[in-house]
Symmetry: C2
Subunit: 131 residues, 2 copies
């Protein structure tokens, strides 16, 4: 099977809640992360929920960047899904710095490779990333 | 740490390439999957690449649905990221049926729970889903 892409799943904790509840800030940060990664921006969309929280998606030529924020938990969930060769780690490091996250967990998953039928032992091909 | 959401990572293989290379079909299928799941549609965006392939994102009140297709590989990658309680499995089954996928692999990941520092043994909390 073809490799569909690399998917980085990043959960950020202990963030600056005022930053991640500001739609202009979140859009600027995710856009800068696309630019620093070298990906090609196609279409951004950002939405602020009431009373709080932002969802943002940027479709790029190589797949997508997404962010969802929970200011009430000082948390943000970021996905970078890429079928191209660009600098995902630089993008995540920029996001981590700008949202002032003191704690994170990041894994990289190879999409296409989750094939086991053993529910307790799927051979998910992933690796832990330290930012 | 709070549970940020449930993330379903679904890779579909042996799909009908003519369906997954048709932007109207892909938009209709992903939109129907949002509706059947019970999620609340906020904003859809679909893009067709040249010479082939579709990327589609639907931001929902509960996070997002995304699809990327590779007609040349008869493959599609779908993500459903949800911080709400809706029927993700019905959504994935509908997509599987409509794109006529003969083979798939799906895992469900609890976002917030990837915490180990052991790169070979991260305690990713996931489970295999059989559609």
């Amino acid at each position: 099977m073809a490799l569909l892409g690399i998917h980085l799943i990043a959960d950020f904790f202990e963030c600056d809640s005022s930053v991640i509840n500001n739609i202009e800030s979140v859009e600027k940060i995710l856009t800068e992360s696309v630019i620093i990664s070298g990906a090609t921006l196609i279409k951004p969309f950002f939405h602020r929920f009431s009373p709080q929280g932002i969802s943002g998606i940027i479709v790029v030529a190589e797949s997508h960047f997404s962010i969802h924020t929970w200011p009430e938990h000082s948390a943000a969930a970021v996905d970078i899904f890429s079928c191209g060769d660009f600098n995902h780690i630089a993008a995540l490091k920029l996001i981590k710095e700008k949202i002032k996250s003191a704690n994170n967990s990041v894994v990289q998953i190879a999409r296409n490779s989750i094939q086991s039928n053993d529910a307790n032992n799927p051979d998910l091909q992933y690796k832990k990333i330290i930012l």
